[in-house]
Amino acid sequence: MKTYIRATGNISPQKSFGHQFLTDVIEHTGDRLTCIEPDYKGIIDVKLIRRMSRIIKMGVAAAMECLQESGVTVPDAITTGTAYGCLEDTGVFLTKMVEHNEELLTPTAFIQSTHNTIGAQIALMLQCHHYNNAFVHRGFSFESALLDGMLLLVEKEANNVLVGGIDEITNISHSILRRMDLYKRQQISNLDLFTTKTKGTLAGEGAAFFLLANESSSNDYATLDALHTFYKPISIKETEQQIVSFLSAQSINVNDIDLIITGRNGDIQNDAVYDQLQRSIFKNNSAGNYKHLCGEYPTSTAFALWVAVNIIKTAVVPVVISKAIKNKPKKILIYNHYQNIHHSLLLVSAC
């Protein structure tokens, strides 16, 4: 199911928009990493922008940057993944509904709160009548959108697919998730995330889009060779088996992997899974991390994929990703789990 990643567009808590790749790492302090947003004027029509909440603007702008780089004006399909959807609009409508006791409500926030709004707005802007789907399955949201896109290419239903992973933090969601004890209680720098060895992680968000194509071009970032997800493994043994059989289905083994990008998020319990694997099947591999740059959120694998394809394209592993020096990686494995429920594996190779 090999596909080519022709272009990317990414709005994240790092300076990623405008195709910068971690040349100027941004430090955040606190328990929340907020996206660095571009000026949307010039990217999105002002008539549309006035109704868009932050996540919609981020999603649409990242998609536009991706399309622009790809040279594709209207993609053959659009698939998006978002675990939480348009939380700000949801919060606005819910708040008014409660405060005004179901009276004097206006439609805009309700309309925009729909989970497929970002994919729909992109279609509307491009006048794209093609396939359009939206996945909303927690830590599998982006992976589902990616799989759908890859299948469309195999089916020859599409020659190229625009795939995105988008999630936002709002004040409301942050205060609720904080009460669920997901985040660190002490104020730390995101760059110290892996040294504290305490409970909790940092809240993150982002909007990353990719143009997948079924044929190579001269300027692809990398190939996405395979994708696999597994749900609630019963033991670390099962996780190991899933990883080994994923690789063997690609006729390779862990020794063929030049860099493993893991989803470490700084929470000692969460990271125990990676610790165990780095003592067992990943023992001889160079490993890297990404969540100190974007924070933890259900579609963060999209940020990881952006990191992986940029490493392959630039042939440089930024020190902030991994200090284990192995320049010019040819094969990168992304292994992420979200709350030890949703596990995903993505294999990325040089073209």
Partner: protein, 399 residues
């Protein structure tokens, strides 16, 4: 890739019945499920009619084996998904690669609303257990875990076409030989969020909805869940029962016209129907029945009707909107209507489009007004169109 995908199990719960048999009886006896709001706590009670499932959360919990404190959306989903799986009667399910692909529009919103009322007063208040399943995917997982399905689980949310898209993806995963069996469809419970949301759009009929009537005033919201069990040819061969039908065609297209409204000529609907026909290798004249999206809004029915007029030119299949019975169940409607489509093929029946008095003057056809039986129904098209221009058509075919 061209191997057929079989429909071998059906499960449904809606305002017209708590299982498939009850829904079928209501369709035969022309008994709509729309009425005054009874379960939902809202200021619109007594003003806006809705199509509620006639069981309380406690009753749903008892029947489903899930706790009454979780989202009604999950409770409805569990009952219908379980019924579908039981109906399929697949032995040794654990030896097969099984998936659960479910759709919904607002996840555990019914519980989030309760939480929010307290949270807004003081953000340290509100029971966290009421928001822990807010996400659409959480609802799917509650049911998947209870059913014991874990090979592949995902959730789709494209507003009112959600569950058609879930069924569509399920068939593709089987064709790609990634899964053997998939329970696919969708669920949605009535919530204040959606009721008020649609109310702001001024597209709710204050009387019972009249889809495809010249004087239609809007839709009635409903709730429910509908699932089909799809299996591969190999699994089909091992079953001792007959399949209801195959899923022979499917397509999704985008209207790309407006965030909520359909284009006047129904571009997206036309493309979805055309694409599904192409996939199935059928001609428009092969379609015996269309289960219309037919919400009863001015906009949907003229857009859908215009697209049908353009595609079928002069030989119109029988058609009806079963939303005149169930109300518009949003994320569940594609699943429920897939169940009704499969039953139409199996029993050779056509459902009536209730309360149709004055046919639309701009359309050259009139949906069926009476329940028909002993009709040869070989191919059924089921339409589902949602916000964001998301249009899907499925085609079910007799074996």
């Amino acid at each position: 890739m061209s191997s057929p995908v079989f429909v071998v199990g059906l499960g449904a719960i809606s305002a017209i019945g708590n299982n498939v048999a009850e829904c079928l009886t209501a369709l035969e006896t022309e008994a709509a499920g729309i009425g005054e709001i009874k379960n939902l706590q809202t200021v619109h009670r007594g003003k806006l009619p809705v199509a509620e499932v006639k069981l309380t959360n406690e009753q749903l919990a008892t029947r489903s084996g899930l706790p009454a404190t979780i989202s009604r959306t999950a409770l409805l989903s569990m009952l219908a998904a379980k019924e579908a799986l039981d109906d399929a009667a697949i032995k040794d399910l654990s030896s097969l690669r099984t998936g659960f692909i479910s759709a919904n529009s607002v996840g555990g919103m019914d519980k989030s609303e309760d939480f929010f009322a307290e949270f807004l007063v003081d953000n340290t208040k509100g029971k966290l257990r009421n928001v822990v399943n807010h996400e659409c995917g959480a609802v799917t997982e509650l049911v998947a875990d209870k059913l014991g399905i874990k090979n592949y689980i995902t959730t789709i949310s494209t507003a009112c076409s959600s569950s058609a898209n879930a069924i569509f993806l399920a068939a593709r995963l089987i064709k790609h030989n990634m899964l053997d069996v998939v329970v696919a469809g969708g669920t949605d419970a009535l919530t204040k969020f959606t009721l008020n949301g649609f109310n702001t759009l001024m597209i709710l009929d204050q009387q019972f909805c009249k889809p495809f009537d010249e004087n239609r005033k809007g839709l009635n919201l409903g709730e429910g869940a509908g699932y089909v069990v799809l299996v591969s040819e190999k699994v089909m061969a091992s079953l001792k029962k007959e399949a209801y039908c195959t899923l022979s065609g499917y397509a999704n297209a985008n209207d790309a016209y407006h965030q909520t409204a359909s284009s006047p000529d129904g571009t997206g609907s036309f493309l979805a129907m055309t694409g599904a026909l192409e996939k199935s290798g059928l001609k428009p004249s092969d379609i015996d029945y269309i289960n219309l999206h037919g919400t009863g809004t001015q906009n949907n029915d003229i857009a859908e009707g215009t697209a049908i007029k353009r595609l079928f030119t002069d030989r119109y299949p029988k058609m009806s909107s079963t939303k005149s019975f169930t109300g518009h169940t949003l994320g569940a409607c594609g699943g429920l209507e897939a169940v009704f489509s499969a039953l139409a093929i199996k029993h050779g029946i056509i459902y009536p489009n209730l309360r149709l008095e004055t046919p639309m003057t701009d359309l050259p056809f009139v949906p069926e007004r009476k329940f028909l039986q002993n009709i040869p129904v070989k191919n059924v098209m089921s339409n589902s169109f949602g916000f964001g221009g998301n249009c899907s058509s499925l085609i079910f075919s007799k074996i």
